[in-house]
Amino acid sequence: MFYIKDLEKELEVHPRFFGPRLREEIERRLRQEVEGTCNGQFGFILGVLGITDTGRGLLREGAGVAVFNLKYSCICFKPFKGEVMDVVVTSVNKMGFFAEAGPLQVFVSNHLIPEAFEFNTAHEPCYQTTDGDQKIVPGSEVRLRIVGTRVDAADIFAVGSIKEDYLGVISAPL
């Protein structure tokens, strides 16, 4: 699920940036530091939309750096159990397949793939229906439901299922 969140961050800025371009520097630093990060509470921070308030920079004693308590809005992406999302398959093996939805990695176990699909290594590893209609290969787009997530310090990993109505292959790789 995507959210626009207003978050805060304390940012230290070195004195050498104190000048007319300070704001640009702050924004640059903010983007650099938060975009692409991940935490358990908000999920992946995909992008900073803007800084709503830089606050007043406070000089840190002894260090000379200014600390800005930034308020910014950003787009977050957090997967939830039960959520249905579209993913792109990255690799297929006998245990299942891995897929990506942006920064999120999802694993779909073969237990969670409909029985109609069979693992086939003849050409390249793939899951294929017996009639050959549908095929899950790296690059395929698949719609799945997330059955569980694991939140690490800097990553989220999800297990998905396509063993349900309206889930499965959306399109073949280009």
């Binding site: 245990m95 694993f107 176990s109 969670l112 059955v147 694991r150 690490d152 800097a154 297990v159």
Partner: protein, 1135 residues
């Protein structure tokens, strides 16, 4: 009889209630005797009903006898049975481990009814045996006991009675009612001999019967002992006197110690059977064997005997039939119990295999259970493929919970029974297996699962079946307090207590779990499927799917791998997987390592999950080195940048080097512990030279800086620049100089250098590859590809590929074409090419010289030239006399004499008039063939002999030390040598200039008088007098030019020979001595020695050799340096 056992409990009960029926004495005896251990407990429970029951018990036996036509047979059985006991006891005394097939017991049945005397004897024997057994703490013939127990439904008595008064017992009131009161009989504790407690009890029982028969029954109510309480028995009676009366005459009771009353409050404790450690191992328990051949093996308990502290277990056999067959019958007992050195693998018993080894396999049916045993060699019993053993409880270790799945599977796989059930699952149907386990083993409490706070559980039994909940806490008595969380119970917030057996752990797909028990202990992963009690978990670390019992899982809070080494391999170790594959350990898991191998591509690293057997060994080659894309050496711990490929732009530290691959650790990559693996050629070492290798020669590293600097327009920096430019040539000079032919033209030939090889000669080098790997040797000779080495360790000269050598200072094993070395091969090139120097005059004649003169490059590269420019006389001479035959040499300047030295190598650049020629690279490409350039002496043939001599003199080239700047390329040194050391009359402007500029003070021009010299303008003159720095010369005129009108530049071989005349009255002028250069004499010319110890002498030139002049002085032939020989201006012949 086995069937009799099946008789209904109720029926038996009735029998117990039956009035006492006196049966034959022997049977009674036996019955009581065998029954004693069960009795202990039963008596306690029944509080005084004991006698009745005991008799009932016997009745039961009797009744059975009567209950069929087997009556007679029964009798035989009983006697047989007694016989057997004696036998068994004997046997046991000998060998504790040996077990008898119980069939023996039965089959040995005698046909005769034993006589009374026999019976008495037997009884005595029994007692003795029992005593002996008690002493050995291995007392009983447990088979027999089992037989009896089975026959009378032995173990079910307690249960049986339990069920009988279930209602009373289970209610608190009922329980209270059973508590002893003051009016109840009291309990007395009596001291007796240690180890004879049971015997005392049995004796009292017997006595009780006897006295009752006599009509004077004992007044005690009950007697019992506790196995854990050694040396005491309890007697229940109303009065102490009754106890004493009953005990009188029993030898095992210490009469001196009076019975002590057990306080009312302690009575219950006294009869409580402690369900302690020994209790824990029960039929159905899973155990591990502590020692011996089966150490660590999983076993299932079939039966236990608390009295003997022994248990019957079944294990997957580890039998070595071959060894067993080889064992001789006579020493079979001797080495029994000795385990073979190598543990035979555990596998199911196969009777055919045993028979194949000619072992005696007997099939026998256990009458009690109906099981078919295979008996091998009379002492190994097998049931359904398992080995059946009776062992001491102490040698077993109880498994708290169900054994790990894999072991369980292995164990069950050994089963050969065709029937269903847990054993029949054969590892296939796990769910069924576990359920069966729960039903059987679980009931025994052997495999009770452990719950923790926070576990999600599901109720499996009772009213609340299938309700899910959360474990709140565990009560002290083992009850699990569960808060139901279920849609079926909305708003229910009360915590309910459950027994552990009523609950199972419960997981759903997608949950993150941790394995808390079993083989995969410690692993974390996500549940992908739940199938009854088995969960399929996709592990975080290995990304594999494992099957685990739900009971062995718990919800994971964090997934951190605690271990960082496995089997001696640690994180970040370099390990060998196979001949072509090495890798770095990037993660360590419970039983596997993740290895980043060199088989992947940079954009798709190859990560393998390796178990210990997959890994050959650890590697550590800290000293390895490899070349980067620019040809620089990379060592371990160097910082490198990735210069191409998908990882371009990354940088990191080289951790390992293996077969051209680098394992680089970088902080820019998070995965694989920050390791990337790529080929060395995609990288560039930090601080190394840039640019790809294998470009033009001009691009070679040694050259390029010089190139840039040479272009510098600052004359002031010329010297320095040249110094900077020199490194490449320094070596060239050293090597090329001595042997150096005059042809420096091959400088840019780009051919693989032999110069390099000279460099190697004489050095000691270690061979790092190939058959001679590890040896050191001295280089005898070397070519571009191979090196001949004289080995130090062997009297042998071998030819080794260059790539097999390890050169300490790096890079030299490869014959990088360096310009400085270029001179050398060209020295070897035929001079014919050089001889073809007709173009030389062309060059010299070309006005381009001016431009060349003007070029900023020029002063920069040859300081000597710079010096020249400072010479006032130089300029005009340089510019004005295009015809000067020496100019070509002059163009070569100071370099020329040093033909073949790198210094000279530079000169073509200066000579070449074309702007492109300014640069080395350009020079290389544009310049006429280097050979063509060769300013060989031949090319200069028409020029004064002295000049050529100077050019070729090895001494010249080899005397860098003479001139201090020799540290800079040989150029200076060489340039300075002939002139500085010889005389001022050096004919080449360059030489002269140079000499004049830097070496003038040490030159004596006094002997130059009469000698023909060349002036910078190309004129020739005869030296008339020398006075300090100036010389008075008579300028001659060219008779030949006047005659033939030929071109003035007579230097070229194609031009008609110039003939200069110096009229005695001709005009004279003063010139600086530095401007004068000697004219090379021809054969038979009159000469004067201008320098050296013979300076001043006159003579005749007989001939010239390379750089040497053969001079005839007063009829004496001497060889002299050509540079020190001056041609007389007035030749005797022409004068």
């Amino acid at each position: 009889m086995a069937r009799d056992e099946d008789s209904d409990f109720g029926e038996e009960e009735e029998e117990y209630e039956d009035s006492e029926e006196v049966s034959e004495e022997e049977e009674d005896d036996v019955g009581r005797h065998r029954k004693k251990d069960t009795k202990g407990k039963e008596k306690v429970k029944e509080n005084g009903k004991k006698k009745k029951r005991a008799s009932g018990f016997i009745d039961d036996a009797a009744e059975e006898d009567e209950g069929g036509e087997r009556g007679g047979r029964k009798r035989f059985k009983a006697s047989a049975f007694i016989d057997d006991i004696a036998e068994v006891d004997d046997d046991e005394d000998e060998d504790d481990y040996e077990e008898e097939g119980m069939e023996d017991l039965i089959d040995d049945a005698g046909e005769d009814v034993p006589s009374a005397a026999e019976m008495i004897k037997m009884r005595r024997e029994i007692r003795e045996a029992e005593l002996a057994a008690a002493r050995d703490s291995e007392p009983n013939p447990e088979e027999l006991e089992k037989y009896i127990k089975e026959r009378f439904g032995g173990r079910s008595y307690a249960q049986h009675y339990g069920t009988a008064d279930d209602d009373a017992e289970n209610t608190a009131v009922g329980q209270q009612a059973l508590m002893p009161t003051a009016t109840d009989p009291k309990l007395w504790v009596v001291q007796c001999g240690e180890g004879v407690e049971r015997e005392a009890v049995v004796c009292l029982l017997q006595k009780c019967y006897d006295y009752a028969k006599k009509g004077t029954p004992l007044l005690i109510k009950a007697v019992f002992c506790q196995d854990h309480l050694k040396g005491y028995i309890y007697v229940e009676a109303h009065k102490e006197a009754h106890v004493k009366e009953a005990l009188r005459g029993l030898r095992m009771i210490y009469a001196s110690k009076p019975p002590k009353l057990v306080p009312l409050r302690e009575m219950v404790d006294a009869i409580r059977v402690v369900r302690g450690a020994e209790k824990a191992i029960e039929a159905g328990s899973w155990v591990r064997i502590k020692g011996g051949l089966y150490k660590g093996d999983l076993a299932k308990v079939l039966d236990t005997d608390p009295s003997t502290q022994r248990a019957t277990i079944k294990v997957v056999p580890r039998i070595d039939f071959a060894a067993m067959a080889a064992r001789k019958p006579e020493d079979a007992r001797a080495n029994f119990g000795k385990q073979p050195k190598v543990k035979p693998p555990a596998r199911p018993f196969n009777p055919d295999e045993a028979r194949a080894h000619r072992l005696d396999v007997v099939q026998q049916r256990d009458r009690a259970t109906g099981d078919v045993y295979m008996i091998v060699n009379g002492n190994n019993r097998f049931l359904e493929g398992y080995l059946i053993r009776t062992v001491a409880l102490k040698s077993l270790e109880l498994l708290e919970a169900l054994p790990p799945l894999d072991e369980l599977q292995k164990f069950n796989a050994a089963s050969q029974s065709d029937e269903g059930g847990a054993a029949g699952a054969a590892g296939g149907d796990l769910a069924g297996l576990v359920q069966a386990e729960a039903a059987t083993g679980g009931g025994a409490g052997a495999a009770a699962q452990k719950f923790e706070k926070g576990d999600r559980v599901m109720v499996t039994d009772g009213d609340l079946k299938n309700i899910k909940g959360l474990v709140q806490h565990i009560a002290e008595d083992g009850g699990v307090m569960v808060l139901p969380q279920d849609a079926a119970l909305p708003g229910f917030t009360e915590v309910i207590r459950f027994e552990p057996r009523e609950l199972v752990k419960f997981f759903e797909s997608g949950e993150h779990v941790k394995v808390v028990h079993g083989q995969h202990e410690g692993e974390t992963g996500m549940v992908v499927r739940v199938e009854g009690p088995v969960c399929y978990v996709f592990t975080d670390a290995t990304q594999q799917e494992i099957r685990v019992f739900a009971r062995d899982l718990t919800l994971a809070v964090a997934s951190a791998s605690a271990v960082d080494s496995l089997g001696g391999y640690e994180m970040h170790d370099l390990v060998v997987l196979d001949n072509a594959t090495v890798g770095v350990v990037v993660n360590v898991e419970a039983d596997a390592l993740r290895v980043l191998t060199n088989q992947g591509r940079p954009d798709k690293p190859d990560i393998r999950v390796c178990r210990l057997p997959d890994i050959k060994r650890k590697m550590n080659n800290r000293r390895a080195s490899v070349k980067d894309g620019a040809g620089n050496d990379i060592g371990v711990n160097d910082a490198v940048d990735v210069v191409d490929g998908p990882l371009k732009g990354r940088s990191g530290t080289v951790r390992y080097i293996m077969r051209g691959f680098l394992f680089i650790q970088t902080r820019e990559v998070a995965e694989n512990a920050g390791f990337i693996c790529l080929q060395a050629r995609h990288t560039k070492v930090r601080g190394g030279k840039s640019g790809p290798r294998g470009g033009g020669v001009g691009m070679t590293p040694g050259r390029s800086p010089a190139y840039g600097l040479l272009a510098s327009p600052h004359p002031t920096r010329g010297m320095q620049q040249n110094v900077l430019a020199s490194p490449g040539r320094q070596g060239g000079f050293g090597g090329g100089g001595p042997g150096g032919g005059p042809g420096g033209a091959g400088v840019y030939s780009g051919r693989v250098s032999t110069q390099q090889d000279k460099m190697l000669e004489g050095r000691s080098i270690t061979i790092k590859k190939g058959p001679y790997r590890g040896m050191r040797g001295r280089v005898i000779s070397a070519t571009a590809t191979h090196v001949r080495l004289e080995l130090e360790a062997q009297m042998k000269t071998v030819t080794v590929d260059r790539s097999h050598l390890a050169v300490e200072d790096g890079g030299r094993t490869e014959a990088a074409p360096r310009p400085g070395y270029g001179g050398y091969p060209s020295a070897a090139t035929p001079m014919a090419a050089g001889g073809r120097t007709p173009m030389h005059p062309g060059i010299t004649a070309t006005p381009m010289h001016y431009s060349q003169h003007a070029t900023p490059l020029h002063p920069g590269m040859t300081p000597s030239r710079e010096a020249l420019t400072k010479t006032p006389a130089y300029d005009p001479a340089w510019a004005a006399t295009p015809a000067h035959p020496g100019f070509g040499g002059g163009g070569g300047g100071g370099g020329y004499p040093n033909a073949g030295t790198p210094a000279f190598a530079d000169t073509p650049g200066t000579v070449n008039p074309s702007p492109a020629g300014m640069g080395y690279g350009g020079q290389y490409g544009v310049a006429p063939s280097p050979a063509g350039y060769a300013p060989s002496p031949a090319g200069y043939a028409p020029s004064p002999a002295g000049y050529a001599a100077a050019a070729g003199t090895p001494a010249v080239a080899g005397t860098p030390g003479m001139y201090p700047p020799a540290s800079t390329p040989g150029m200076y040194a060489a340039a300075g040598t002939p002139y500085g050391g010889a005389d001022m009359a050096a004919p080449t402007p360059g030489g002269a200039g140079y000499g004049g500029a830097s070496a003038a003070p040490c030159v004596n021009y006094a002997h130059w008088v009469d000698v023909e010299v060349m002036l910078p303008g190309g004129e020739r003159a005869a030296v008339r007098a020398v006075d300090g720095g100036t010389a008075t010369v008579a300028v001659g005129h060219n008779a030949a030019a006047a005659e033939g009108g030929g071109e003035p530049g007579g230097g070229g071989p194609g031009a008609p020979p110039a003939r200069w005349v110096y009229p005695a009255d001709g005009p004279t002028r003063s010139v600086p001595v530095g401007d004068m250069s000697l004219v090379q004499p021809d054969r038979k010319d009159a000469i004067r020695i201008v320098a050296g110890e013979l300076a001043g002498q006159y003579g005749e030139l007989v001939g010239t050799d390379v750089g040497d002049a053969i001079v005839k002085l007063d009829k004496e032939i001497k060889i002299y340096q050509l540079a020190n020989v001056g041609r007389l201006a007035v030749q005797p012949g022409s004068a």
